[in-house]
């Protein structure tokens, strides 16, 4: 009886919290969350489970960074070359520094690079996905479950804006993250020096929006246009999470600007 009362109170508290968050931009996305200096200021359905597309790679990125093995030599396995969607056309047997594949997965959202990282760190993708789910649980991501390492649409592969915020904050504690995600483009080379790849950051805010530092874009037919944007101006930071957005870049620019404006009214 006490337990059910407690659960009921928790549910009520969650509902009350969701109800009190203003939603000034109901049209921009199926779910969104805007945080100013770590505090949520606007949100729409932040707990809703939705396909996160390549925002999934933020968890991949967290596990990679937490391993602290940037100089590992990674050999591309055949499974990575079978990846679909965005890829840099890795060839089986090609060898890279782990950090270079990390750039490809995070900036270019390359699925083959992402898969190669998963294979290298856990032996195979399934084992890596298990690590991802354990880390999600540890972060308190209650509305997240991963089926693959790179963000393909699959039943049971979902996350929420609030959970992605938890993940983003965990990533932001990694000192090297923003140095990477704020790069407009990066060149990587196979260890034998034979092939060079120029990777353009898919985040259109980088280099265009004043203060934009990251973090990740995503798109699949089911997930729609997704974005986790992080920007800093003076002492203010804004984190924006859009799931199934409508017009993601223009909306992101508008919302980031308005959040920085909002900072004027925050003591």
């Amino acid at each position: 009886m006490r337990l059910s009362l407690f659960i009921g109170l928790c549910l009520f508290a969650n509902l009350a919290l969701a109800a009190t968050q203003p939603d000034p931009f109901p049209q921009v996305a199926s779910a969104y969350l805007v945080e100013l200096n770590g505090e949520s200021i606007w949100a729409k359905q932040p707990e809703r489970r939705l396909p996160p597309a390549s925002l999934t790679k933020l968890m991949t990125a967290l596990l990679v960074l937490e391993q602290e093995r940037p100089d590992d030599e990674v050999t591309v396995q055949p499974a990575s070359t079978h990846e679909t969607g965005t890829r840099i056309n890795l060839k089986a047997g090609e060898r890279f520094r782990l950090q270079d594949l990390f750039f490809a997965a995070l900036l270019n959202s390359a699925n083959d690079a992402c898969h190669a990282l998963a294979d290298h760190l856990a032996g195979n993708e399934a084992a890596f996905v298990a690590q991802m789910n354990r880390r999600a649980l540890a972060l308190g991501m209650r509305n997240t479950h991963f089926i693959n390492a790179c963000g393909h649409d699959e039943t049971g592969h979902y996350s929420s804006a609030n959970d992605l915020s938890l993940l983003a904050h965990a990533l932001l504690k990694q000192p090297s993250l923003l140095d990477i995600t704020s790069q407009k483009s990066v060149q990587i080379t196979t260890l034998d020096g034979q092939h060079h790849y120029t990777l353009e950051n898919k985040n259109a805010l980088i280099g265009r929006y004043d203060g934009a530092l990251g973090l990740k874009t995503g798109y699949t037919p089911n997930a729609g246009k997704c974005l986790v944007a992080f920007a800093k101006r003076s002492d203010n930071t804004v984190l924006l999470i859009l799931l199934h957005g409508k017009d993601r870049w223009w909306d992101a620019v508008d919302i980031l600007d308005l959040a920085f404006d909002h900072a004027r009214l925050t003591p």
Partner: protein
């Protein structure tokens, strides 16, 4: 503005309280100078004629006093008096030490404070001196003169001006408490439709971190007021209202973008400017997990990034989006 206003209020409050201590006394000419690190300019010295009870010139509570300050450890050795002070201005606590030397025809001293004001660390030094003028004086008269000076509403030209001075009307024991109804009537009438009044209210109540909320004191329905004022958002008042009216500001930005970009042709000279105006980001190129975007450059040589191509591509997408 914040610090100047704070300093002005502090000074006036101090002077008023000094007069308030006065019983039948004598006139003194008092000069105060305040220094605060970080002030954009030095505060000018202020000289005021005040009434101090006879024989109280060596009592710091009466010469440099402020009703919100509590003096302790007052010690007098010869003609020198020292003390400790703790001042609480609406929750902003500052502590400090003071010393004063009394001579035949006057006194001089200084107080050094440190603490927090509106959440920020602040150090302040106030130097003061008093010169005996003589002549008997009446404390009531002094108080009334001071009050008239502080509460003079002829310097207010708008409701925003009233709101900026709301603390001396609304705070407990305020000198101008009798102006509360006048202030609140203006606030209730004007803030839902006067952008400057609304902005002054928001600034006062939120940004300034004031312990006195004009909206609360005047029982203003902020939700309805914000809803009302947000309907007036336009290009003239966008910068004042965008922080409070995100939905309207977003709609305004979309509308402006549509008007500025739609139908616009571009040339090599104007393309960059058009892009900046029309696209703070860029048109979407949906990427990702299972899209079939072309892969990035792979070659035997490093490829250079090409901003011109970026611009062209974005402009093309813009053109296709708006049909020009």
């Amino acid at each position: 503005m914040n610090r100047n206003h704070l300093a002005y209020l502090g000074l006036m409050t101090g002077l008023l309280s000094m007069a308030a201590y006065a019983a039948p006394g004598e006139y003194w000419e008092i000069t105060n100078t305040m220094e605060m690190p970080g002030m954009p300019f030095a505060m000018p010295a202020t000289t005021t004629k005040v009434c101090i009870p006879k024989g109280s010139e060596s009592n710091p509570e009466k010469t440099s006093g402020d009703k919100s300050c509590k003096m302790t450890d007052i010690k007098t050795v010869g003609n020198k008096t020292t003390w400790k002070a703790r001042c609480d201005h609406g929750g902003d606590v500052m502590t400090g030490v003071g010393e004063q030397t009394t001579s035949a025809n006057g006194y001089q001293g200084k107080m050094q404070f440190s603490g927090k004001s509106r959440g920020q660390d602040m150090n302040m030094t106030m130097a003061f001196s008093g010169k005996h003028i003589g002549g008997s004086c009446d404390s009531e008269e002094q108080i009334n003169k001071m009050k008239a000076q502080i509460c003079d509403t002829s310097r207010y030209h708008s409701t925003a001006d009233w709101i900026q001075s709301a603390d001396i009307i609304l705070q407990p024991g305020a000198a101008c408490a009798d102006q509360r109804k006048q202030l609140c009537d203006l606030v209730l009438k004007d803030t839902p439709r006067d952008v400057h009044a609304y902005y002054a209210l928001m600034t006062h109540d939120q940004q300034m971190g004031s312990k006195i909320s004009v909206a609360r004191e005047c029982k203003l329905d902020m939700s309805a007021t914000t809803k009302s004022i947000c309907k007036t958002l336009n290009d003239q008042n966008y910068s004042l209202l965008s922080a409070s009216c995100p939905a309207e500001a977003k709609a305004y930005r979309e509308d402006t973008r549509r008007r500025e970009c739609e139908g616009r042709s571009y040339t090599a000279e104007t393309r960059a400017a058009d892009m900046k105006k029309c696209l703070s980001g860029k048109s979407d190129s949906s990427e990702d997990s299972s899209s079939n975007d072309a892969p990035p450059t792979k070659s035997g040589k490093p490829a250079a990034s090409n901003p011109t191509n970026d611009a062209l591509e974005t402009a093309k997408k813009l053109r296709s989006k708006y049909g020009f």
